[in-house]
Symmetry: C3
Subunit: 396 residues, 3 copies
């Protein structure tokens, strides 16, 4: 059943959320109304796109894409989101630029923003750095806007940092919300956010951290499971606990994939590196200690290898609610016998869930667009209403 | 004489071609009506551009550019074409992306296409791979569209593969069609598609293959000439033979540049590597066998050097019809004493034909735009008619 | 006080300048009326942007960005300028393209321009090359346009060459014009364009050359100061002398930072390499003589180090008019104890001037846009008047 655009806009209005001139960095800094507003805008934009209604709310304007780590899907999601709104993406490629030559973040942030409406940043490799960097950029933009350097305050959107991956977790959330027929139906549902084996190391922590911090807000029973030692950042565990208490859900940490999968409605099996390893890695990277990095990788892979049993396969899926849990993944998954010899998920389980994971990913461009719209428009509901009424064709 | 837009649109309508939701991969998979429809749309778009009429039939939307081989002109042609239609180009740079990290083609194709209308691919280095890859992408997009992952089916456009280079050959065709005053005047004209000497090796086969397979459809007498051993892919030879028979033209293969140039109305002298060499090269590249590649290059260059006589110069041109054949080249040409010591063409012959080759290249952006328009619009004739009638200024 | 758009457009009209189908390469090739026209358009565009009025005078069209040296701010300025006018930027990355493979400049210039409206070039590393290259590109575009290869003549904009950096110097000029309340108030003002110490070498000469050649046109007293040996290109010195004579200002060269700063209203302390060194560097770069380049760098840094006293600090600033000269810099500055141990400017002086330098930089996108508009539009005043009257919202 397609979304009722008019009704959704009215609901958005009623939320009374105000993100204007703010950024979207961490879900746990946002109120429930703000989270719901972004999700609502995302769904409205997605439906308007499906109905071929133009939503280019900017005639001109730049969007800066600053990727400090590789990415296909998030890069394209950001580009798609910006294009949908009418913005042109300009990459801030630190190889090409003079950033490495002593420019301060403060200066660069202003220099790239004279005609910029949104800055999307991915910086997830260094523990303690990514979120800090985004805050610095945001602070510099506040400074520039306040002092008349910039005509407009560009919105900073976190495309993945060391703490959170909000565009991912909110896409995941929209997918399961629609799968189960509404937010109210998520209450009491069990979601297993579990580590899974992968023949690689150094995968960021932001996905599991983002998931446990967001899903605990919706009355779900969240079980985080990982082999001993594969801890997440302690602060995010505290956020998840607090959120679960407030929402009437629960949050549990275990060291058993089986325990997490038991009666789960949703499973999210995904590899990550232990927080402590990521900290050591950050230090080695900062020192440029290549032999140290090699040694760390070797040590970690050897450690990972002890937990090859952490694979999402038929045996594991059989433990879930009626054996039919929804499978989530941020993609790309390490698929046993497809992308590697032994990985996070069996080919059979993945194939069964494949189209679902594509649709899950399909929310991301609209979630990013919604964050930009919410942070740059004073009255997004009014504006969306006007665009819906005008109903200009996007593609003639 | 400028094109009559209204008349051309009526002719387009009459062709009754239907490319909607299809791709443009190989000319020989397309009916005559489909080929003519794309050419007609290209000419209409070119004339509308000349008359400063906006043809941005997309208000927003992405076009993905996936270049697996270097290119200036095709890259710019694709960017120009997409921009003309209102699409924003996003490069799928496999260095930047996670494609190398185990993603399947199927997944990537969908991940980059949520808001994408066209995917342009250049993949011409590996015999047996390029066309196969494009079909895989197209299949993945069919799958995603059919299953509701994608709101729209992006058109895949072949920007050069191991088999064909349709945007090139169709630009070549438009150039000679207009040069000789219409398709009917191409009947009985002789075109010499010949190998020419170049101090480089490994040039793709797709240009000569594309030319012989396309030009044989228009009643031309096509002579393909190359030194012994410089064969093209056998399948394309079969296509050319069949096309010639059907069109009332002829197709001949010889080992003499002189024979091909004799009484030719059009000459297309261009270097390429032997099919067998490209096959060996593909295998060596796959194995990453650098010494093997060096050896192969050395062997080939030594072999090329035996055929330095295959140069398009005054002596050769004198053999052509009244000494005045049209000279075609996909550019850049290896010009003797300009870009190299001895090359495909003498400086004098090239300089005489230079502006012609530029104009030949000038069709390409419009051919690409036409392919995208034909494959993404249900009724391109109606749409072009509306745009022509509205006559919005492209540049104020 | 915001600019009166209507009044400015009337003033622009009165200037009667005609830049249509020309390029913007060197300020000293432009008449006063032409310089004032570009500055006027820049200010009008800046005010229209501030008032959220769309100025996208192109519905579609490409802008080619050709950076032969690194850059953050100029790259973003160009991208911003083009986007503001409705053009899409396509990078001509010579790594990606076939330019290195023997294509002539003439051919490439046409191949990238079939749907192109502007070509921005940065080529400042090689003495005697950058400006020459730009002229070649411009000549090739003339040739293509004249011969019907191109439907339109793209404007070439100098984003920094070996001689001039007009988008920088004209942004500097707009900043001080507005700071002092009008061009008439610049008469008799003293500006110190001085060398300053930096722990790097090889910085281009185009900024000081551009500044002395432009500021001397406005009746200012320009003092150029540098340590013995750090000469600029002799031709530009001659231009500055001539301009000063014509404008009723003065131009003096000294070897003392103190002398230049004495009673200055404006200071522009900035490092550069001696002209002779840049010439030697050009030759070494052409030969690919890495050891020679290393030696040259070592020699130069040792020489630079003799002039660490050339720092803009409180002591120097105290010498200026009432101790309160305006500080200019093209950014990024080498700031002592911030970006390096000892640099061009003390942290305290820079911090005091920081927001000013940001605003100075903020003119650049609009100066570039103005150059493009002036060179591609027959009647820019009429067009701006229409856009101002229509007052379409840029951001809804």
């Amino acid at each position: 059943m397609p979304l009722n655009i008019e009704k959704s806009i009215a609901e958005l209005e009623k939320l009374g959320a105000d993100l204007y001139h703010k950024d979207f960095l961490l879900t746990w800094q946002k109120s429930d109304a703000e989270i719901h507003a972004v999700l609502k805008i995302a769904e409205i934009l997605k439906e308007m796109h499906a109905q071929n209604i133009a939503v280019d709310m900017f005639k001109t304007g730049l969007a800066v894409s600053n990727f400090r780590d590789n990415s296909t899907r998030t890069r394209f999601s950001f580009a798609s989101a910006c294009n949908l709104l009418g913005l042109a993406v300009q990459d801030l490629d630190e190889g090409k630029s003079q950033i490495a030559h002593g420019e301060t973040v403060r200066e660069t942030a202003n220099m790239i923003s004279f005609l910029t409406e949104a800055v999307g940043i991915r910086d997830d490799m260094f523990i303690g750095k990514g979120h800090t960097y985004m805050k610095e950029v945001a602070g510099a933009l506040d400074d520039g806007y306040r002092n008349g350097v910039l005509n407009q305050r560009p919105a900073v959107v976190n495309l993945q940092c060391d703490l959170d991956h909000p565009t991912q977790s909110m896409s995941d959330l929209l997918f399961i919300k629609n799968h189960f027929g509404g937010f109210e139906n998520l209450k009491g549902k069990k979601i297993a956010m579990t580590w899974a084996y992968s023949p690689s190391y150094g995968k960021p922590l932001s996905v599991p951290q983002g998931v446990i911090c967001l899903m605990t807000r919706f009355g779900m029973n969240v079980e985080l499971a990982y082999p001993e030692g594969y801890d997440l950042l302690p602060d995010t565990i505290e956020v998840a606990k607090k959120n679960a208490r407030a929402s009437g859900g629960s949050f549990k940490v275990s060291n058993s994939m089986e325990s997490a999968f038991k009666d789960a409605d949703i499973v999210y099996p995904k590899s990550w590196a232990p927080f402590k390893v990521m900290e050591r890695r950050t230090q080695l990277l900062e020192k440029g200690d290549q032999p140290g990095l090699k040694d760390l990788e070797k040590e970690c892979l050897a450690n990972n290898a002890k937990f090859k049993g952490w694979e999402c396969n038929d045996r594991m899926m059989a433990l879930t609610k009626a054996g039919k849990a929804s499978y989530l993944h941020c993609l790309p998954a390490d698929i046993t016998d497809v992308s590697c010899k032994a990985g996070e998920v069996s080919a059979k389980v993945f194939e069964g869930a494949r189209l679902g994971t594509y649709k899950e990913a399909g929310y991301k461009p609209f979630v990013i667009a919604a964050m930009i719209a919410a942070c740059t428009k004073k009255e997004p509901a009014r504006l969306l209403g006007e665009l819906a009424k005008a109903a200009r064709k996007r593609a003639l």
